[in-house]
């Protein structure tokens, strides 16, 4: 027995920190997708939470309707959500690029209402359970705490996805095109690169990340039509705190705020729902551009 840390039993402290890290993994994945989309399209994708929910629902439907399990869902659900994103971008979003960016926000807000409303109409508001895959049941005793395997997997998986996205954007040729097109799309197009297609694919990739987060979340939280709507507002706050300028910033802020939220749950549980928003207000007072942002 290790005694207590600041008057808190270590099991409770580490338990909440783990929970915070898991929430942080989802914040990171979602704010990463938002940042990638924003960088290229200058659109804040309000439908991100709804598409995260869609990812979870698609994997649930794959399992219950077609008997397709978790590992295939991990591949298929993000692809289906990504294809949905392609359709959304081609038919609706692409008409708005010449207008004020606020219209993109309003349009995706409308889309979010429609997607969530449709799922609510079809499946009701109650959550649907999704079983943890066979290989990831059970857990490890780390001495100071018990780590369920699935939760460890979520943290590792989201870290891998975030780091590989960062490498793909910062270190590869394709990423270089992407960054160039973010800076000056006209010039990049003049070099013979199909920028509109790149925009579509970027949006598809961003929402596929949301879909992936949804699949990862399905066995932890219940699959419900409302799972994305409150989450997306917290992720917006995360994005404001981190600043949209840097991919790495979005990811780090995501994990950091998840952990801080976990700590708040230990020491002052009443404030755990609002701590992210309070931090956002404080950051805006001190550094309006966000922790990693550039003043434009």
């Amino acid at each position: 027995m290790m005694g207590t840390i600041f008057g808190i039993p270590p099991q409770a402290l580490f338990g909440q920190l783990l929970l915070g890290l898991i929430n942080g993994s989802f914040y990171a994945l979602l704010s990463l997708g938002l940042a990638v989309i924003f960088g290229m399209l200058n659109v804040i994708n309000f439908a991100h939470g709804a598409l995260y929910m869609m990812g979870a629902f698609v994997s649930w439907l794959l399992l219950t309707q077609f008997g397709i399990g978790y590992w295939w869902a991990l591949l298929l659900a993000p692809m289906i959500v990504g294809l949905f994103g392609v359709a959304l971008e081609k038919t609706l979003l692409s008409r708005l690029y010449k207008l004020d960016h606020l219209y993109g926000l309003l349009l995706t807000f409308g889309c979010a209402l429609m997607i969530e409303g449709a799922f609510r109409h079809l499946y009701g508001v109650s959550g649907q359970p999704y079983p943890i895959p066979e290989a990831l049941r059970g857990g490890q005793n780390l001495g100071f705490m018990f780590l369920p395997n699935y939760r460890g997997w979520v943290v590792v998986a989201s870290l891998i996805v975030c780091i590989s996205t960062w490498i793909a954007i910062e270190k590869t040729k394709l990423g270089a095109y992407l960054r160039a097109a973010t800076e000056n799309p006209v010039l990049v197009q003049a070099f013979g690169i199909n920028v509109p297609r790149m925009v579509t694919l970027t949006y598809a990739f961003g929402v596929a990340l949301a879909g992936l987060a949804g699949v990862l979340a399905a066995p932890i939280y219940q699959v419900s039509p409302l799972m994305g709507s409150n989450l997306i507002i917290v992720v917006f706050a995360v994005v404001v705190i981190g600043g949209m300028g840097s991919i790495l910033g979005a990811v780090l802020t995501g994990y950091g705020l998840g952990l801080l939220e976990g700590l708040t749950k230990v020491f002052y549980p009443e404030a755990s729902n609002i701590v992210v928003f309070v931090i956002m207000a404080v950051v805006l007072m001190i550094k309006p551009a966000g922790l990693f942002g550039r003043e434009r």
Binding site: L106, E116, V240, E270, I274, P288
Partner: protein, 326 residues
């Protein structure tokens, strides 16, 4: 953009040369005065409360170019304060609404002070996040009674003279509140202050270079908008004798955006039209089996893609002098 023309289109009606806008306004007022004899008063009061809410929101987006996605915080926050002070402290309805309005103005000062540090999309996200904080506070604070909200708020007697339990008395009081709020907005938009706001909306760097402290103007507009949204929320709490989490939820913020967008951003009458349509539509949908959010979302998408000027904006663009003003 072309130079703004002052005043409404002047059309000779019966050779008298009365401004067209004023005639329409008088006609609308007459309709509002006799409306409760033809339509269900509670429905009309709901329309008027939301119309004032939408007009307050429009003062910000339409005339200063700031998109707030968190106006439910002011509407719902004021509703809670009014409901609490009237029910628990036993205040009269006019004092309750006044306190709600003042609270909303104070919240507007704090939120506005934080949010105007960023612009455009960030402004929208910050206001949304701050209003979500208010939502969680409303969920957890003891005086708001969590999921139940504050119910059975007494309507009371206005100035100790008029019994608001009578539907017609209540209606004319709500109408008076609405007209007062509308007059404040009309006066603001047509004042030098309103002109500066429009200048900031069109070209902020230019306004700064002309020597205006644009942040102060934006903050004042934000506080005014929040206060009027609060007045609408407080009045709503008296009419429906209820303040609940629905009033502070983000869906409510989205709804007021839709009303303004549908009616016409930057027009004075647009938000009223939009509010009436959305409230009527929701009343209609409630009786059918159609999913309300899907229909609302579809209208949102249609507005953004097809008619961004909104109903009043399109009408003015076609029949007015090309410049949305009335």
């Amino acid at each position: 953009m072309s130079l703004p023309s002052h005043g409404a289109a002047t059309v000779a009606v019966g050779g008298s040369g009365v401004p067209m806008g004023r005639l329409i306004g008088l006609a609308a007022l007459a309709v509002l005065l006799v409306a409760p004899f033809a339509l269900y008063p509670v429905f009309l009061m709901k329309v008027l409360c939301f119309a004032l809410f939408a007009c307050a929101f429009n003062l910000l987006i339409g005339f200063s170019g700031l998109l707030s996605f968190g106006h439910a915080a002011f509407f719902g926050g004021a509703a809670y304060v009014t409901a609490h002070t009237v029910k628990v402290w036993g205040l009269s309805p006019e004092l309750g609404i006044l306190l709600g309005t003042v609270t909303a103005a104070g919240m507007g000062l704090v939120f506005g002070g934080i949010a105007i540090r960023r612009q455009g999309i960030y402004f929208a996200m910050i206001t949304l996040a701050l209003s979500q904080m208010v939502f969680f506070l409303a969920l957890q604070l003891p005086f708001t009674h969590g999921e139940d909200g504050i119910q059975a708020v007494p309507r009371g007697t206005l100035f100790g003279l008029f019994d608001l339990n009578h539907p017609f008395t209540m209606y004319y009081f709500v109408l008076a509140v609405f007209l007062f709020g509308f007059a404040v907005i009309w006066r603001t938009v047509h004042s030098p202050f309103g002109q500066v706001l429009k200048a900031i909306r069109e070209n902020e760097p230019r306004a700064i270079s002309l020597g205006y402290r644009t942040d102060r103007y934006k903050l004042l507009a934000f506080v005014l908008s929040a206060a009027l949204a609060g007045m609408a929320g407080g009045t709503k709490a008296i009419v429906f004798q209820l303040a609940t989490l629905t009033d502070v939820q983000w869906q409510m913020s989205g709804e007021v955006v839709l009303m303004t967008l549908l009616g016409g951003m930057g027009t004075l009458s647009g938000p009223v039209v939009g509010a009436a349509l959305v409230v009527a539509l929701e009343n209609y949908l409630a009786a059918t089996n159609l999913p309300v959010p899907v229909v609302i979302g579809a209208i949102f998408v249609a507005c953004v893609l097809l008619f961004r000027r909104g109903i009043a904006g399109e009408i003015l663009a076609r029949f007015g002098n090309g410049r949305p003003q009335a």
